[in-house]
């Protein structure tokens, strides 16, 4: 190859990088700044993007913003036995490739999910799926599970055609779903996804012709791009920028969502945290209102209960106590702690000191850890902060340490999963070993409750017990903000979203002149 040709090849490789974005001028496109990297479109790996944001797939059951459920791809369902359910599919639904939504297609999709994603098995507790007749699907759960319809709202349970193009390893490369938008263009190199309106959609046709997503994991960059006009829609921009954005005419929506800032302890056995008075003292020393106001800038809400009262199944009777360092000191004294030489409270020569682990991916966590450190220092508790990758924390954390995390409390609109994982003595998240017979009994009652009202009562009882016992400290309920350029109308936030959901009814008017 001559030098000149070599140069030509090199130039051919590099030149596309100078080109503009594929013409978006003719079709009005909503440009969204996505908050995670999008390495793949596999709906099992990035269900939130494919289902909740890009609206490519749909689930059998839909979750509404008031945490109730409604028919989705299934028109109706009934429970036929302790563990057996039957779902009747909506007729006349087509996949993006034109094939009809049949019972076989639904079974194949759910089975694909169940065998490839532990998460779906875990969340839905489905044992098997079968075709039960023309347009009907039978689902069997591993145990009596009244929350199954709600569990099917989980994004990873979205129905995807098995004819979807596959990657070499067998995962789905470009999902073909039934949703109002279909995958039009996917540029994994530039981390850009474009979806366009699906003309044969069974429901009301969406107003916006196309939506493009660009991954911008850094919150500060998302805010800059929005201000600069590089994107139209961004979520989780830095909390301190919201007022300035609103003042510049951007639409800012601040919402409490199904996620908690939680401080959990390494172990409740043979550590200072075993003593409920110590946990209570720490809780009283943390000024949740101050944190919500100055660390979260109002993005999020001070909280002590497992769910914010904006959620239908929350127990509204649980109130957030005022911070009271004096009462906290009294509690510590009652637990046998006295100030040591360096001002740190100690009991039998052992200081009340621990390492608080947290991670940097969510913008509120590290500053919040700093605030908690300062607040606990005021009652003589010494906290060291360590920021690590989330997965590394579980390895490094010792029983006497603690972790601050933002945990999802409703991957689908039902209280069961979160309460059971977190507070049941056998719960999978409950690595700190909390065990309370009343909680376990109430959670067992919930599964066999005669009706939904009785089930809700059982969950509310659990919430009251743990809000009083505080095996792990809820600090605040997560706030998600959505900021949009002026001219985007009809947006409705859905708090069951993992991050944010887009709304097919959104409308786009041209950007006002002069921006």
């Amino acid at each position: 190859m001559s030098a000149r040709r070599r140069f030509a090849v090199l130039a051919a490789c590099l030149l596309p990088l100078f080109g503009g974005v594929p013409a978006s001028a003719e079709t009005p496109t909503l440009r969204v700044a996505e908050m995670w990297e999008t390495p793949t479109l596999d709906p099992l790996r990035d269900a939130t993007l494919i289902k909740e944001k890009a609206m490519v797939t749909e689930t059998l059951v839909t979750g509404l913003p008031d945490f109730t459920i409604a028919p989705g791809l299934a028109l109706s369902w009934r429970r036929e036995g302790e563990t057996l359910w039957r779902f009747a599919l909506r007729p006349g639904v087509r996949f993006h490739d034109g094939s009809p939504l049949t019972a076989q297609a639904v079974v194949a999709s759910l089975e694909h999910g169940l065998s490839n994603s532990p998460s779906i098995r875990h969340h839905t507790r489905i044992a098997s799926v079968a075709v039960a007749g023309e347009g009907e699907v039978a689902i069997t759960t591993v145990e009596p599970f009244p929350a199954l319809p709600a569990a099917l709202v989980h994004a990873a349970a979205g129905i995807v055609a098995m004819s979807s193009p596959r990657a070499p390893d067998g995962t789905i490369d470009r999902p073909i779903g039934t949703g109002p938008y279909r995958v039009a263009d996917w540029d994994p190199a530039g981390q850009r996804l474009t979806v366009t309106r699906f003309e044969d959609y069974w429901g009301e046709a969406p107003a916006i012709a196309a939506i493009s997503f660009r991954s911008i994991p850094d919150p500060a960059t998302r805010a800059l791009e929005l201000r600069k006009g590089g994107v139209d829609f961004a979520a989780d921009v830095p909390y301190g920028d919201l007022d300035a954005l609103a003042a510049k005419g951007f639409t800012v929506s601040r919402n409490v969502t199904a996620r908690n800032y939680m401080l959990s302890f390494g172990s409740l056995k043979e550590t200072p945290f075993a003593d409920p008075r110590v946990r209570k003292a720490l809780s009283l020393a943390i000024d949740r209102d101050e944190i919500a106001r100055y660390v979260l800038f109002g993005m999020g809400r001070a909280g002590i209960a497992p769910f914010p009262d904006t959620m239908a199944f929350a127990d509204p009777a649980i109130a957030v106590p005022q911070a009271d360092p004096a009462a906290a000191r009294v509690l510590l004294a009652g637990a046998g702690y006295a100030p040591g030489a360096d001002g740190v409270m100690a009991r039998e020569g052992r200081p009340l000191a621990f390492t608080l682990y947290t991670y940097a991916q969510r913008p509120g966590l590290v500053p919040m850890a700093g605030a908690i450190q300062a607040q606990l220092r005021r009652i003589g508790v010494a906290v060291t902060i360590r920021v690590a990758a989330y997965e590394a924390i579980a390895r490094e954390m010792k029983p006497g340490d603690a972790r601050l995390a933002a945990l999802a409390t409703a991957a689908y609109p039902d209280p069961d999963v979160f309460l059971r994982q977190t507070y049941h003595s056998q719960g999978t998240t409950n690595s700190w070993g909390y065990a309370d017979a009343r909680v376990d009994a109430a959670l067992a009652d919930a599964l066999t409750a005669p009706d939904e009202a009785a089930r809700l009562q059982a969950y509310r009882l659990v919430q009251r017990i743990v809000a009083d016992d505080e095996p792990c400290l809820v600090i605040a309920h997560y706030g998600v903000n959505v900021a949009m350029r002026p001219g985007i109308e009809n947006y409705r936030f859905n708090p069951i979203a993992h991050d944010y959901m887009l709304d097919p009814q959104m409308r786009l008017s041209p950007a006002p002149a002069g921006r």
């Binding site: 990088l17 998460s119 875990h122 600069k228 590089g230």
Partner: protein, 318 residues
């Protein structure tokens, strides 16, 4: 091929092997269960659910996490030599494919930055020589020190504040058109400018002192002609291999600049893979970076040897 060339080629290979083996070792020796980590990170973005032992074992099998370390590395290396860098844990795609997407961005960024740095260097050095006033000397020293001392991430932030937000001239991040390259290239080039300017200035000093220049000056040629026609071309020759050697330094700047401007290049791929503990992707990226640096060093060695036979002799003896 002379023994010297052979040695340098082997050295380039050894560098890549050393870097990847070190990375491989550290990745695999990390405490905890990689399969668990992978599952938690990939499938359970909410990070709350846990994974059964059976699922973890299946995954360990799929990603070959159960063989002895040296065997695993040997397998990786053999596959890598055949062009197979494994499959990214995050995306399930071949790492080589993804690197192929990222490489042009980094390559373009680095080439443009080097070109700009060279142009600025030439301008700066000739300006200094032609002006030949104490003020020019001091200005030169000031600019050089400033360029070397100014961290790219600070300069980049300030430039975003000024040129993107206040003046509204240039985009903030990402790729898309020529305007997206302006700020990252300037930041990266200014980071290089300090070094290249000093280098060229030194080389020029030497060239101007060379015998034929002195005699040309005696013949009454103008200083400007001396500088531009005779000294500068001579001074540029030794500069080229040094530029290649600077490549390793440039790579460090690329990581920071790509992160700052959210450019989907090799540097951000490295950082993303580290963040996600995506072993195959991280290892592949390290391999490519090490290979690029090793090749640049090799090119520098060969150039130097071609330009100056004494070095070739001296170094093959050493």
């Amino acid at each position: 091929m002379t023994p010297y060339l052979l040695r340098r080629c082997l050295l380039a290979g050894a560098t890549v092997v050393a870097a990847t083996f070190l990375t491989f070792l550290l990745l695999r020796l990390a405490p905890g269960e990689p399969a668990q980590t992978i599952l938690a990170r990939i499938f359970l973005r909410d990070l709350t659910a846990t994974v059964s032992a059976g699922d973890a074992a299946a995954l360990a099998e799929r990603y070959g996490l159960s063989a002895p370390l040296l065997v695993q590395y040997g397998r990786w290396l053999a596959a890598a030599l055949g062009g197979d860098l494994g499959v990214s844990i995050r995306s399930g795609r071949p790492v080589l494919t993804e690197l192929g997407w990222r490489l042009p961005v980094t390559l373009l960024l680095a080439l443009l930055a080097m070109a700009l740095a060279l142009v600025l260097t030439l301008a700066l050095v000739t300006a200094r020589r032609m002006l030949r006033r104490p003020l020019a000397d001091r200005g030169f020293a000031l600019i050089v020190t400033a360029c070397v001392s100014l961290p790219g991430f600070v300069l980049g932030l300030v430039m975003i504040l000024v040129f993107s937000l206040s003046l509204d001239w240039l985009p903030v991040s990402g790729t898309g058109g020529w305007s997206h390259w302006v700020l990252p290239v300037i930041v990266l080039a200014l980071g290089q400018l300090g070094f290249t300017a000093v280098l060229l200035d030194d080389a020029l000093e030497e060239a101007l002192a060379a015998a034929h220049i002195v005699s040309a000056r005696a013949r009454g040629l103008s200083e400007r002609c001396l500088l531009l026609v005779h000294a500068l071309p001579n001074a540029l020759v030794p500069l080229v291999p040094y530029l290649a050697l600077q490549f390793a330094f440039l790579v460090g700047g690329v990581v920071v600049v790509e992160r700052l401007f959210a450019l989907p290049g090799l540097g951000s791929y490295l950082a993303e893979a580290l963040d996600a503990r995506d072993g195959p992707a991280f290892l592949g990226a390290v391999a490519v970076v090490a290979l690029a640096v090793a090749l640049a060093n090799l090119a520098a060695d060969l150039l130097v040897a071609a330009l100056d036979p004494r070095i070739r002799l001296a170094r093959s003896e050493a």
